[in-house]
């Protein structure tokens, strides 16, 4: 029974954060969130330390000043509770954006995500527009419970969308679409990229549709299907391999659910060889779904088994030599692509 919201004062005009000329991945997330909160008074953000502190990674820095504590809500450490709160608020017309401080802690909200958010629309027909943002991934020497890739925990479950941008441009456009989407959406931010990846110019605030993959590097010999940090890695390696005469097509799936099977399969039909890359552990990582799907859809075009490059089936270690041995490294990726392209 949503009713009309009263006009919501914005306490401070102008952007919550000043953007640099080539905004970082981190700035892109913040700017898109700011854009949506300014545009739609029903959008609010909640999570641990998102207020005065601006979030553990500073995505919401300046938001409290601009929007006030009504729309920038510091919660107790209660992931089950505040995720369920978001579900309830969305049910009666708000558009909550939940920040998990680290994606690792989303495990504490697994139950409401699976059983309340994902299933609600199918059970009842009511929309449940909740966006869940979580910084994930390794390479920061943060160890087994601060480095997790969590997409596989959720990709099996019908009713969630899963968004994993690999560039600042996509981070902005896909977050906007996630917030406007009427479904619960898991939006996973690669925290290693936050300050390391910059946009090529000013950011557009145009929504980018969910479920549309992008060929980010064209090639003929082998298709590399990837997402998130795999995208810039993949493109860099493709550029290197081009010098050796190996032509790699890099497909950024951008959203895992829905998955743009057509773009993937079209590319594989062209190259006849496919490698899937992600930072999550290999066993039942999303690469398994992509590989299984490709061989279903393009089996007779394949000149080589599909290869999955992924983290080892171990937790993520803290110590650099150990973590580097677990998470796929550029040399391994390049070598695999060479092998698959040439074999």
């Amino acid at each position: 029974m949503p009713t009309e919201a009263p006009p919501v004062p914005v306490l401070k005009s102008g952007p919550a954060q000043e953007l640099s000329a080539n905004p970082t991945y981190l700035e892109a997330v913040g700017a898109a969130l700011d854009h949506e909160m300014e545009r739609d008074p029903d959008v609010f953000i909640l999570g641990e330390d998102v207020g005065q502190f601006g979030g553990a990674f500073k995505v919401t820095k300046g938001f409290l000043d601009k929007y006030g504590p009504r729309r920038v809500v510091d919660t107790p450490i209660a992931e089950t509770g505040f995720t369920g709160l978001a579900a309830g608020a969305s049910l009666v017309g708000l558009r909550p954006v939940v920040e998990f401080q680290f994606a690792d802690f989303i495990s504490c909200a697994f139950d409401p995500i699976i059983n309340v958010l994902a299933r609600h629309h199918w059970r009842t027909g009511d929309p449940m527009p909740v966006t869940m943002r979580a910084p994930f991934g390794g390479r920061l020497r943060a160890g087994p419970t601060h480095s997790q890739s969590v997409e596989s925990y959720f990709a099996h479950v019908p009713g969630l969308k899963i968004v994993m941008p690999g560039t600042p441009e996509d981070a902005a456009g896909l977050l906007i679409s996630s917030i406007r989407d009427d479904n619960p959406t898991l939006y996973l931010e690669n925290k290693y990229l936050y300050r390391r990846l910059r946009a090529t110019g000013p950011l557009s605030m145009e929504p980018i549709p969910l479920g549309v993959a992008k060929v980010v590097h064209e090639g003929r010999d082998v298709t590399l299907i990837t997402y998130s940090a795999g995208v810039h890695q993949g493109v860099e390696i493709a550029q290197e391999l081009a010098k050796e005469g190996i032509s790699v097509e890099v497909v950024d799936v951008r959203t895992l659910v829905p998955l743009d099977v057509e773009t993937i399969v079209n590319s594989v039909r062209k190259t006849s060889r496919a490698v899937v890359l992600h930072e999550a552990a290999k066993r039942l990582g999303y690469g398994a779904e992509i590989a299984a799907t490709i061989q279903e859809e393009a089996f007779w075009h394949l000149d080589h088994p599909i290869v999955r490059i992924a983290a080892k089936n171990t937790p993520t270690a803290t110590s650099p030599p150990l973590e580097d041995a677990i998470i796929p490294q550029p040399a391994e990726i390049a070598e695999t692509l060479r092998k698959v392209a040439r074999e």
Binding site: A5, P76, A78, A87, A89, D111, P112, H120, H121, K161
Partner: protein, 332 residues
């Protein structure tokens, strides 16, 4: 378990007789529908098991009667009375237990999962008490928009040990959300007696952990429940935050109808068999001259007829077609 408030009802002065009669009618209807459904369960009409709210009518109806129609409700599995108070049709409830196309979920979900958002009622999953965090969200939205709506949520004694209970109460109390949390202490959680669920003196004593008011009332006394919940609703509506109201009663059937409940202490059944909340309230109304034999009979008859008609309709209703089964996983 002590009761902070004694059963009321000696004087009905200052109470709206219309409202009292309506409460009585819905309590009687709740009982009639559930009795009918027990027969349906035994007769094989239903798909799975049946969770009933016998002896919970005073809590479910009494509490729901404190709400405005635009308030929110987040009930749990023994709160048919609260649904009926808000306008849920008995046949829809039956249709849900039968997996019919006409159930509120079109047969996708079933059993007690028939909440209707158009009546302001959250339809919870099986996980208890998942309705609690959602209830804080509904209350949060009301406060966010500057509306003076409240959200009333129910859970059982057993549900209080879960994450959802604690994290919701914590958030609601810190954020001063317009929530009322009713605990239906019916002595058991499935086969587990209260002493294996909680070591606190009462369930309302848990309010201290959240710095909010908590009160325990006789859950077979609809006016005691109503008064306590009314106070809590008024408080929430005024912006003074959430409260806990514990209603003490007994689960007079098994956890669900498949369960013979042979683990229950006999004395409890005996004690509570003398405390039927519907009868108790009927006597209060009679004593106050608000109900005579004829009316009472009429109310009961009508309820029975409603239940019979509901069954007839639900039985006749079609099963769903699977055609569109993959539709609606996502909203467009």
């Amino acid at each position: 378990m002590s009761k902070d408030k004694k059963a009321t009802g000696d004087s009905l002065e200052g109470r709206d007789p219309e409202l009292l009669r309506r409460i009585y009618e819905v309590m009687v209807l709740t009982r009639a529908v559930e009795d009918r459904m027990v027969a349906m369960y035994r007769g094989g009409d239903l798909l799975g098991s049946l969770y009933t709210g016998h002896w919970h009518e005073a809590i479910s109806v009494g509490a729901a009667s404190c709400l405005r129609p635009d308030d929110y409700l987040a009930p749990i599995h023994r709160d048919l009375g609260a649904h009926l108070w808000r306008g849920m049709e008995p046949w829809q409830v039956m249709a849900s237990f039968m997996g019919k196309a006409t159930s509120p979920t079109g047969g996708r979900d079933g059993t007690l999962h028939y909440g209707r958002l158009d009546l302001g009622i959250y339809n919870l999953p099986s996980h208890i008490p998942a309705n609690f965090p959602v209830a804080t969200g509904m209350a949060f939205a009301a406060k966010y928009r500057g509306e003076d709506k409240v959200c009333l949520a129910f859970c059982g004694d057993g549900s209080t040990s879960r994450a959802d209970f604690h994290e919701s109460l914590t958030i609601a109390s810190v954020q001063k959300l317009p929530n009322v949390f009713v605990i239906e202490n019916n002595q058991y959680a499935y086969s587990t007696p209260v002493r294996l669920t909680s070591h606190s003196d009462t369930f309302s004593a848990k309010a201290a952990a959240y710095g909010i008011p908590g009160v325990t009332v006789d859950g077979t006394d609809v006016l005691a429940v109503r008064d306590a919940v009314d106070e809590a609703v008024t408080r929430a509506r005024a912006g003074d935050g959430p409260s806990i109201v514990e209603g003490v009663t007994m689960r007079m059937h098994g956890h669900a109808e498949h369960d013979p409940a042979d683990y229950v202490v006999k004395e409890l059944f005996e004690e509570y068999s003398k405390k039927d909340p519907v009868e108790l309230f009927e006597n209060v109304l009679r004593k106050a001259g608000l109900l005579d034999d004829d009316t009472a009979r009429k109310v009961r008859d009508e309820a029975r007829q409603s239940a019979i008609a509901a069954r007839r309709k639900a039985l006749a209703d079609p099963m769903p077609e699977p055609g569109n089964i993959e539709e609606g996983v996502y909203a467009d």
